[in-house]
């Protein structure tokens, strides 16, 4: 409590709701998090982080003990995606910290707001290869937006506050504070100040007006304009602005995979998403476009395919909060640096008239008819995964949050589900980390509203990597439903082996999988199983109705492949629709 806020009286320390004054570095860390409005922390205890945990004992914030630190960071990441506020994860030094690495790298690639707090050996031991010592700031430097080694109990709270603010402001991303045990144990009575970013960090709010005007002119003159909405649209809360602009000017909208939910996929102007397994019509539209208004995307190679063939006729109007993204992978004709919501507003004001898009929209509609997402059903054959995704979508509300692992199931979950709301699609994009799905569902559950459902589509391989987190879901009685699309393969690898390695299925056959429904029961969750089309509807209904964590072991057609497909580095317009196109 700052001195301006209240005149301290003798009783003030005991009054209801008034926290005890800070007495240690650890208490200061906890206070900084409380000041920042943190509600949940995901982590695992351990020697070097114990002082911080001890300080949490007296806090109102809820600590969720996870089974593995990777679970903690993925849960924090998903919490960040769904809530918009940084998710917090904690780990001890050494192995605790290294177990966070995958999740930190994942958050870094997807610009997700995450704050990681790691214990460290006492300062005097640093550099001596002490028990459980790892150079955590060194290891995580290339995969954090910013990281800190806290060296002083008096300032540690401010450092944590700064790390929190840095995770959220500008281009979001993971930050880390390494907390040596002597620093957290040390006495201090310094209350941390409010969370703020350093003075040298000044992301632009609005874009340069002259560039906006020039870009708006180029846009108004376009014949085949497309809006490409990336994850940054959702992060910047710019979805509504993009919707309004697209509808006002009748411009077709393509999203990137992280941008799914930025624009309602049931809208006529939606072409769903583009890239390696994006829709044929989205890839056609981007390829043939003469003007792309790209907002909050980093032109990842999974989106562009080979840059030589990416939208070669298109002028690119690139809106991004991070100047380093402009012309990084694909040259931007107009670089509009600033907050996506503000810049889309500026741009909307600057556009005079609308491009005439009638013919172009008709062309896009024709591509939708020509390249529909579809699949073959044979009632006597194994269940098609696409059918299951559609059935779960039909059985749940529009605001349902979907998380996934990584593989074919992830692609089906974004192809065959119709997303209409931002912050309902939670996946590992840039890093493609198997094992993301279950812990992400846990983190998403804490961030979502109570009446929002949380479902996870996982693969048998991905599920096996982090399924121990089901214990957490069971302990906390979290209402999540995991659909394991079980093909007894690490299917995406099997598909590539079939396509590019002459079907030599080295190490991709997973015919040694456990019974996932039984496994779920052992963890304290409810287990279900689907073998035939007849089981689908009732089992989905029962699993969704179960209040608590449930796992549906869905035995799907093991030979099903994901199409369309743009081979790595290929030409988006030449997407394959069948194996013989590869």
């Amino acid at each position: 409590m700052s001195s301006e806020q209240a005149v301290p009286t003798e009783e003030s320390g005991d009054a209801e709701g008034t926290p005890d004054p800070v007495s240690t570095g650890a208490a200061s860390v906890v206070r900084a998090l409380e000041n920042a409005g943190v509600e949940y922390l995901f982590g695992v205890q351990g020697g070097a982080i114990m002082p911080v945990y001890d300080a949490l004992y007296d806090s109102e914030m809820r600590h969720i003990t996870m089974a593995h630190e990777q679970g903690a960071v993925h849960a924090a990441d998903a919490y960040g995606i769904v809530s918009g506020d940084p998710g917090i994860c904690m780990a001890t030094s050494g192995p605790g910290a290294t177990n966070l690495v995958t999740g930190i790298a994942d958050a870094d690639m997807d610009s997700d707001p995450v704050l990681a707090l790691t214990g460290q050996v006492p300062t005097d031991f640093v550099g001596s290869d002490a028990f459980q010592e790892t150079d955590t700031t060194g290891v995580t430097r290339p995969i954090t937006k910013e990281n800190y080694f806290a060296s002083d109990a008096d300032t540690v709270g401010d450092v944590v506050g700064e790390a929190f603010a840095m995770a959220k402001r500008g281009r979001q991303g993971p930050t880390l504070v390494d907390l040596p045990k002597d620093v957290t144990n040390a006495e201090t009575d310094r209350e941390p100040g409010p969370a703020r970013t350093p003075d040298t960090y000044r992301p632009a709010e609005t874009a340069d007006e002259a560039t906006v005007t020039a870009a708006a002119e180029a846009f108004a003159a376009a014949e085949r304009p497309v809006i490409l909405a990336g994850g940054g649209v959702i992060k910047a809360e710019a979805s509504a602005a993009v919707r309004e602009f697209a509808i006002d000017h009748e411009v077709p909208v393509v999203t990137t995979m992280p941008g799914i939910g930025a624009f309602p996929e049931d809208h006529d102007l939606s072409l769903k998403w583009a890239g390696m397994h994006g829709t044929g019509y989205a890839n056609m539209a981007l390829t043939m476009s003469d003007c792309i208004l790209a907002v909050g995307t980093r032109f990842d190679d999974r989106l562009t395919g080979g840059v030589e063939t990416f939208a070669p006729d298109a002028e690119i109007l690139h809106v991004d909060i991070d100047p380093a993204e402009i012309s990084k992978n694909v040259e931007a004709d107009y670089g509009l640096v600033g907050d996506a919501r503000a810049v889309v507003g500026q741009f909307a004001d600057a556009v005079v008239g609308s491009p005439d898009t009638d013919a172009w929209c008709e062309q896009c509609a024709e591509w939708k008819r020509e390249y529909p997402l579809d699949y073959h059903i044979d009632e006597d054959a194994p269940v098609k995964p696409q059918f299951v995704v559609e059935a779960v979508d039909a059985a749940t509300g529009d605001d349902t949050v979907v998380t996934t692992g990584v593989g074919q199931h992830q692609m089906w979950a974004c192809q065959y589900w119709t997303y209409t709301e931002p912050r309902t699609w939670v996946s590992s994009h840039g890093l493609g980390a198997m094992g993301y799905g279950v812990p992400a569902a846990i983190g998403a559950r804490y961030a979502a509203d109570d009446d929002q459902s949380v479902v996870c589509f996982d693969g048998d391989g991905s599920f096996l990597m982090t399924c121990q987190e089901l214990t957490v879901a069971a302990r906390e009685e979290l209402d999540i439903t995991v659909f394991v699309l079980n093909n007894e393969f690490i299917g995406m690898v099997r598909q590539w082996q079939d396509g590019f390695f002459e079907g030599r299925r080295m190490a991709s056959e997973y015919d040694w999988m456990p019974e996932f429904d039984t496994l779920a029961e052992a963890f304290g969750a409810k287990g279900f199983r689907i073998d035939t089309y007849d089981d689908v509807e009732d089992t989905i209904e029962a699993a969704l109705a179960y209040e608590g964590p449930s796992v549906v072991d869905v035995h799907i057609d093991p030979e099903e492949d994901v199409f369309p497909m743009v081979p790595s580095g290929g030409d988006n317009g030449l997407f394959a629709l069948r194996g013989d196109h590869l």
């Binding site: 700031t137 060194g138 430097r141 290339p142 910013e146 080694f149 840095m166 350093p198 003075d199 040298t200 960090y201 000044r202 044929g280 056609m284 390829t287 043939m288 032109f299 562009t304 840059v307 030589e308 063939t309 990416f310 939208a311 070669p312 006729d313 991070d322 100047p323 380093a324 402009i326 012309s327 990084k328 992978n329 694909v330 040259e331 004709d333 020509e370 390249y371 529909p372 997402l373 579809d374 699949y375 073959h376 059903i377 044979d378 559609e390 030979e559 099903e560 492949d561 199409f563 369309p564 317009g573 030449l574 997407f575 394959a576 629709l577 069948r578 194996g579 196109h581």
Partner: protein, 211 residues
Amino acid sequence: MSSQDDPPENGLLGADPDDRPRPRGRRNSQGIRIDPEVEAERSPRRTTITALVQNEPGVLSKVSGLFSRRQYNIESLTVGTTQETEWSRITVVVEEPDPNIDQIEKQLDKLVPVIHTRELDENAVARELVLVKLDAEDPAKVHAITEMYDGRTLDAGPRTVTVELTGSERKIDDALDALRQFGVREIARTGQTALARGETKTSTVPDDLKP
């Protein structure tokens, strides 16, 4: 759901890749829209980038990590303190095509301790220091050539002479070429450091960041 035209058992319906409309244009491998006839890539050029940074642990490792993970070709990188004890100046000489030079500047600027980054023009004042240890068979001749390049002899023994040279990269290269005849035993170069010429500011600092 299945349509009337049932899709194949594994895959989708739709036109073959060869039957689809094709765009006319092309980009180069740097993602730049180009004339398909020419298809030129931007070729590398040598340039100097300067960055004013706050002195804090890890700055240099952040900067060098930035270069190494992107496989940029660094010719030299120097660091030293400035008029303010809180600040250091980093000077980087790189040989890269334009898109990469642009990226280097932006990535540097992105680092939180970096206050200001820019590329210096050719007119900048740039100097490098080199120490050369040579065989001392003909000390007089070594001395003469060293003097010719305004260098100094720092150490002369019965078998070796060590000289110091400062100057532009070009001058140092020339001096080293001239000295090679004496048998070079070892060379240590500092890499280039530089400031903008005359009244031009090398780095601009927002008022509130001034110490």
